[in-house]
């Protein structure tokens, strides 16, 4: 039965991984606006490289 402690340790590790991923997502501003990204995919992509640059600028934490 003692092995369950090790299993809990692993499961917590995985859970912490997801928590960290969530915290990173929040800090990088992915939750600041949840309306325009949904509309954005509907437009034709013509902007090329510049759009990538904007997105990276946007995702930097303030």
């Amino acid at each position: 039965m003692q092995v369950i402690v090790i299993l809990i340790g692993f499961s917590l590790l995985v859970a912490v991984g997801f928590l960290v991923a969530f915290l990173w997502a929040v800090r990088s501003g992915q939750y600041d606006d949840d309306i325009s990204p949904g509309m954005r995919i509907l437009y034709d992509e013509k902007k090329g490289e510049s759009s990538n640059q904007i997105i990276t600028n946007q995702t930097k934490p303030n």
């Binding site: 003692q2 859970a15 915290l23 929040v26 800090r27 939750y31 600041d32 954005r40 902007k47 997105i55």
Partner: protein, 736 residues
């Protein structure tokens, strides 16, 4: 566009506005209120096709912001703003953007706390599983203790990170000797944490760490939901964004430089161009001021001022440029004083919100007492159970639902009213509007149109010179009749007016090119007997004491005047006007009694009249145009101005009504009754919820985690109920 955005070339301002600027590339964020649909996003995100120097743009729809990256060597910020201007996405450039960033940061912090609390809650819940299962006691005690320790470790971030807002808020208000909602919650959290830790480390049990984490998780979700709904309700009322943020200051050799408003000092010389707002109270040094104080008064009729006259902050110049000397720095200016609403309105009487704040205060103390008493009672038999009950009581009896009712009900009502053309200053006005029993109208510009009136000249034809003289004199007056006369005389050049006087209810007089021009009532001008006027107002004219004839101005009563007066049946209705009683016969078609009509009222008389009504215990709704009756509007219980142009703003009033909605004033007033009823029902709901929840909690039948689930649910019920009720009832009342 000219040099309207020239201040954007000032490096100091540039520095403040740019988010980033290095190596020839700059990034800027603009608030663009015009963003409202998906095509706006598309257009603004394709700015690079309009100008190749723009590297890219990014829209945040919720916050109506656009982030633009551009090559600053190829396109200046000013050119960029001008480009946005040309496609009619006019950015609101405001230098105090700190609040917004603060908001964003706090939102992110809240989300992170929710994440951490949810993580802890889920995992501790799994570890507590044995506690809830039959036969759980037979599990290896080593395992049980290990689970306890892990739960303790997982609960640490909950107790020391997720709950900090509650502690801080409780602590800060305690230091100001206020007991707020967060105090019982903090106490509950601390009690649960300490008791559970004690149980875990003494081996007495595994405590209630799962409840603690769940509690925080659900309460934080409740807060997040609240802030989301608040955000959608909140008006962007940043009054300061109405002012131009940079001012053209003239140096010693008349060289122009752009400075920020806050850097403006007394005796600075500034330049104000056509259509610019005057940033501070100033004296005119040069130029002829034709100032539209609609921002201050709601009256879009311009005021004429000449050299050495004082002009007030917030006025908008139209015409040639002005050179002004600042008299008062902006912080002390007239306008700021007007805006500091609370000082402006030292109205007596308890508003419901204040009563509720008071009640919530006692509520907290009562809850603390109940919690302590029931904790002591249970403590006689079981310490663990005592803490459990103590926390449940503290958590379940949160007055949040009580506190949310008014902001959400009245917030929704303000929104509905705004959509329908009545803009209220704040939520308190709704309650005051509900209480009124007397309605006082101003006449000209309020129940009559000031803009659509037509003046017709009756008499011998005027020569070009004569027309110019009359126009020059009447242009100086803001009285709607003068404005109408001036407008009917075309747009010729004006001559200088000297010795200009305006006598209320009489007329105006001035010397133009050596001629004495008198315009006004029969007695004042010395004209013939009033002609058979019918539905018209008559303005007589004399030049050098020679009677020349009269203008016949058709009084255009606003549509809906009849229905408005009918709608206010049962109210005490009065009419105040600065004009003489020549209009009486016409007005009698609308008003039932002569006693209601008061003629020849100067602005001071109007104020005095309202004060008398106030003293006799009446609650007065004053409806005026905001210029001649600003004082009366202020001292009335509710002051509403009629604005022909809705963007005009009058700090003197409590509400601005779009002129085309004039016929619906009484509908708005009636709707406030429904709003109040919604508030009462919602209070009943919140109260019932508290009583039921409390009784279960005191009996020890409610675990803290269920209490923590119930608490946000109660808040959500109240928010959902009030918003829904308002939108349903407003539809019943034919509001959009």
């Amino acid at each position: 566009m000219g040099s309207r955005y020239a201040y954007l070339d000032n490096p100091e301002i540039l520095e403040k506005l740019l988010l980033f600027s290095d190596g020839g590339i700059s990034k800027v964020k603009f608030l663009i209120p015009a963003i409202h649909c998906s095509s706006c996003i598309w257009l603004l995100e394709n700015l690079s096709t309009l100008n190749s120097s723009i590297l890219g743009s990014f829209v945040n729809f919720v916050r109506k912001e656009v982030h633009i990256t551009f090559r600053d060597s190829e396109i200046s910020l000013r050119q960029l703003v001008e480009l946005l201007h040309t496609i009619h996405y006019i950015p609101e450039i405001s230098l105090n953007k700190e609040n917004k960033d603060d908001y964003q940061k706090s939102n992110r912090r809240l989300l992170m706390k929710i994440g951490v609390a949810g993580f802890a809650f889920g995992n501790i819940m799994l570890l507590s599983f044995p506690d809830y299962l039959p036969g759980g006691e037979q599990i290896d005690s080593f395992l049980i203790r290990t689970f306890g320790y892990i739960a303790f470790v997982l609960a640490l971030p909950v107790a020391f990170y997720c709950s900090t807002d509650f502690y801080l808020s409780a602590f800060k208000s305690l230091r100001k000797k206020i007991i707020n909602i967060d105090l019982p919650i903090s106490l509950g959290i601390i009690a649960l944490f300490l008791e559970s830790s004690w149980e875990i480390f003494t081996g007495a049990g595994n405590g209630y760490m799962d409840s603690l984490a769940g509690l925080l998780f659900f309460m934080l979700i409740g807060r997040w939901y609240q802030s989301k709904s608040y955000q959608s309700l909140s008006f962007d009322r940043d009054y300061r964004s109405f002012f131009p943020i940079a001012v053209t200051r003239l140096g010693k050799d008349n060289e122009e430089e752009y400075v920020q408003i806050k850097d403006l000092k007394k005796n600075d010389v500034i330049l104000v161009r056509n259509k610019e707002l005057i940033p501070a109270d100033s004296i005119i040094i040069e130029g002829e001021a034709n100032i539209d104080y609609s921002f201050v008064t709601g009256e879009s009729v311009p005021v004429l001022k000449t050299k050495d006259a004082l002009v007030y902050a917030g006025g908008r110049q139209s015409g040639a440029s002005l050179v002004l000397r600042v008299e008062k720095e902006v912080a002390q200016s007239y306008l700021t004083q007007l805006w500091n609403e609370d000082r402006l309105h030292s109205r007596s009487g308890k508003t419901m919100q204040r009563v509720i704040d008071r009640v919530s205060h006692y509520f907290t103390i009562i809850i603390l007492t109940i919690a302590t008493l029931s904790g002591v009672y249970w403590g006689l038999t079981d310490i663990g159970k005592a803490v459990y009950v103590f926390s449940s009581v503290l958590i379940v009896a949160c007055p949040c639902a009580l506190a949310l009712t008014i902001p959400f009900t009245f917030g929704s009502v303000i929104r509905v009213f705004g959509r329908n053309g009545l803009y209220l200053k704040n939520a308190e006005v709704i309650e005051r509007l509900y209480n009124i029993d007397t309605v006082v109208f101003d006449k000209t510009g309020t129940i009559t149109h000031s803009r659509t009136m037509k003046a017709e000249w009756k008499g011998a034809d005027l020569s070009v010179d004569e027309a110019r003289w009359i126009r020059s004199v009447t242009r100086s007056s803001t009285h709607p009749s003068s404005v109408t006369v001036a407008e009917s005389l075309g747009n010729t050049a004006n001559s200088k007016v000297e010795n200009y006087v305006e006598i209320t209810a009489q007329g105006i007089e001035g010397m133009v090119e050596g001629k004495r021009i008198r315009v006004g009532a029969k007695g004042f001008v010395g004209g013939v007997a009033d002609p058979d006027a019918g539905l018209t107002t008559v303005v007589h004219v004399s030049i050098d004491n020679q009677y020349r004839g009269y203008f016949s101005i058709e009084n255009d009563y606003r549509e809906g005047l009849k229905s408005t007066l009918a709608g206010f049946e049962g109210f005490d209705i009065h009419l105040l006007t600065g004009d003489n009683d020549s209009e009486k016969a016409n007005l009698m078609q609308y008003f039932s009694s002569e006693k209601q009509l008061h003629f020849r009222q100067s602005p001071e008389d109007k104020l005095e009249y309202i004060n008398q009504l106030n003293q006799s215990g009446k609650k007065v709704l004053m409806i005026g145009d905001g210029l001649n009756d600003a004082g009366a509007l202020l001292s009335a219980h509710v002051g509403i101005t009629i604005a022909d142009d809705i963007y005009h703003f009058s700090p003197a009033c409590d509400g601005i009504l779009k002129s085309d909605q004039f016929g619906r004033i009484c509908d708005f007033q009636k709707y406030t009754r429904k709003a109040l009823r919604i508030v009462y029902i919602s209070y009943t709901l919140a109260f019932l919820y508290n009583v039921v929840g409390l009784s279960f909690a005191v009996m020890g039948l409610l675990s803290p985690v269920v209490a923590a689930v119930l608490m946000p649910i109660s808040s959500i019920t109240v928010v959902a109920f009030t918003t829904l009720a308002v939108s349903l009832t407003s539809r019943q009342n034919r509001f959009r």
